[in-house]
Assembly symmetry: C2
Homo-oligomer: 344 residues x 2
Amino acid sequence: MLTDRQLFILQAIVDDYIQSAEPVGSRSLSKQSGMSYSPATLRNEMADLEEMGFLEKPHSSSGRIPSERGYRHYVDHLLLPHQLSNREIHDLRSLFARRVMETEQVVKQSATILSELTSYASIVLGPEIFESKMKQVQIIPLNDRTAVAILVTDTGHVENHTVSLPEALNSSDLEKIANILNDRLRGVPLYQLQNKITTEVAGLLRQHISSYREALLFTEETLQKSSEEKVYYGGKANLLSQPEFRDVDKVRMIFELLEEDHTMHELLKPEQGGLMIRIGQENANQAFEDCSIISASYSFNGNPVGTISIVGPTRMEYPRVIGLIEHLSRDLSKVLTNLYTDRS
Amino acid sequence: MLTDRQLFILQAIVDDYIQSAEPVGSRSLSKQSGMSYSPATLRNEMADLEEMGFLEKPHSSSGRIPSERGYRHYVDHLLLPHQLSNREIHDLRSLFARRVMETEQVVKQSATILSELTSYASIVLGPEIFESKMKQVQIIPLNDRTAVAILVTDTGHVENHTVSLPEALNSSDLEKIANILNDRLRGVPLYQLQNKITTEVAGLLRQHISSYREALLFTEETLQKSSEEKVYYGGKANLLSQPEFRDVDKVRMIFELLEEDHTMHELLKPEQGGLMIRIGQENANQAFEDCSIISASYSFNGNPVGTISIVGPTRMEYPRVIGLIEHLSRDLSKVLTNLYTDRS
DNA sequence: TTTAGCACTCGGATATCCGGAGTGCTAACA
DNA sequence: TGTTAGCACTCCGGATATCCGAGTGCTAAA
C-alpha cells in the first residue's frame, strides 16, 4: 500500500515533528541529513500521503503534520526499538536499590521518576489487592473505645483502619475474635472475605461470644476493605511546558480529569496486560483528544495487578517512552514477584 | 490614620474586586448599593488611598485594585466573620460521618472537600507522627526471605514496610526480637526510638540472640521511620479557572512548586498553631507572588500536628475561606483528640 | 466639603498591511 | 517516466494604525 519511500518520508516527518513541534515543509525536510530527494519530489509524496490520511495541514499553505492515523502507522510499523541511555537505566534501577521498602513508596517513586525522565505526566496505579490472600489480622486496642484493625496479605500489603470498640466487647472477646479470624480466614482471597464471614465466621462467633450481634458487626467493620483505588501522579506540570498546551482552557479540562482518581483508574486499569497505546481520539475521553496515553501493566506472579502510564501530547516521543515503560514494568513485576513469592 | 469613610470605601473596593476581578472605578463604585457618595468624592478618596499605598492602578487611566497592603489591611481590620452556609457545614461534617475510618482517608478527603467548597486549591499536611508513642511492633514473615514489619502508635497510626529476612535469623529469633522491642519500647516517642535501640535494645539482643549483628541491623531496619511527609492536594485545577492565572507560564511555576511535596511541607508545617495568612510577596517564594495562602493548624491533645491550607489568587474570598478553614481545623482537632485519647 | 463638567489617558479590540515559508502546478530534464 | 526547477498563489503571524470607552485628575461652582 505504501511504497518504501513513502514510509521513509512518513517516518522522517513524524520524527521531525515530534522533535520540533513545527509543521514540516518540503524544503526543510529535504535539507535533513539522509534525505536525498528534492523539495519538489517530497511535495509530491507528501501530497499523496496527505490524500491517504497520514498527514494533514494546519492550513492550506503550511507544512505537514502527522494525522492521528499517521502516528498510528508510525507506532505500528515504523517504530525502532529505543535503546535506553545509561542515565535512564540508572534512574530506573535506583527505585529498587533500598533494602527496606514499602511497595507504596516504590510505586509512588515510579511515577515521579518516569515523569522526570520523559517530561510528560505519569500515572501509576498501585497494585490491586483484590486477589491477594489474607495472611493475618490484628486488633490492637488503643484505649477504652478505639482500636486499630490491621490486615496483612501475602503480598505484604498492610491495610489498616480505626474502629470504635462496642462497649459490649471486652478485651478477651477481642482476642477470641482475632483468633477466630486468623484461624478461619488465613489464605482466603480478600474478595471472598465478606462471603466467608457470613458462611463460617458468624457461626463461630455465636458459639463463643456472648454479645454476638456486636461481635459480628465489629468483625465486619474490622475487615471492611478500604476499597479505595491507589492512583499516583507524577509531573503533571510537565504538560504545561508542551507547546500544544498553551491554552489554559484546554489544559484545565485535562487537569480536571487527571484529578478524578476513580475515572483514571477505570481508564487505565490492567486488562489484557501488555502495552497499550491510545492516540488522540482513541481515548474516548473528550479532554484527551490532543493527548496520547501509553501504558503497560505490571504483574505479580503473572497476573497483571497494576499499570504505569504516560500522558503527553499526541506529538509524543513514542520510541523512548515505550522503551522506558516496558523496561520499568518488567522490573516492577520482577521485584514484586521475587519479594513475595515463596522460593520453595 | 484612615478615616472611617476611607475604611468603608477600601472595604467596598476590596469586596467588589474580589467578586468581579475587574478594576473598580469611581462611577460603578458609587452606584453600588449602600454607597452614598458621588463619583467625584470617591475619586478624591481613592486618590488618597492610592497615595497611602492601599490601592493601585494597573495603568494610569483605569480603575483601582487593592494593593497587597490593601489586602493586608482588609484582613487585619475589616474582616467580618463569615457565617458558614448549611451546605458548607453539611459538607464538612460528612467527613466524620463514617464509624470506621482511617486518619489518612479523612485527611485526604479534607483536601478534596475544602477545594470543592472554595474553588481554590487546597493542601493538607497529614499529622506528624514524630511525637506519638510506640504502641506495638509486629514482625510478620511472608516467606523464607521477606517479612512485613508493622509499627502501631498510640495515635492509631500504622507504619509498615517490607524487610528482607537475614538467613541467620530463624523464626524463634524473630519472635524474641519482637518481644524485646515490645517490652522495651512501648510508650517511647518515635523520635527517641533510634536512641533507645542503641542504649537499651542492643544489649538485650546481644544477650538473647546468637546472630547478634544481623539481629541489630534487622531491628534498625524494622523500626526505620518512613519519614516521608504526607502532603495531600485538592483541586489544583481550580486555579486554572481564575482569571489571574490565564498565563500558562505563570501557572506552570505554581504547579511545579505544588509538586514539590518537601518544599510545600516546609512552607506549611505547623508552627505556632493558629491561623496564618500570607498575601502575595509575603510568600517568600517567587512562584507565589500572585497568590495568597491561608492555613490553619489542627492539633492532637493541644499540640499542632498538621495544617490545612488554601492557595488562591491574592484576590481571594478571604472571609469565606477563613471561616471554612477555621471550622475544619477545629473539627479535625476535636475528632483526632476524641478518638485517640483515653477518657479516663 | 461635595459635586458637576471637561479634557485627557490608555488599554483592548478591530482593521490593515506585509514578509516569509510553504504549496500546487506546469514545464523542462535525465 | 520519474525528478526537478520555476513561479504564482495562499495564509499565518507580527507589526502598525485607528477607534472606542471607561476612567482619571483638575477646576470651578454649589
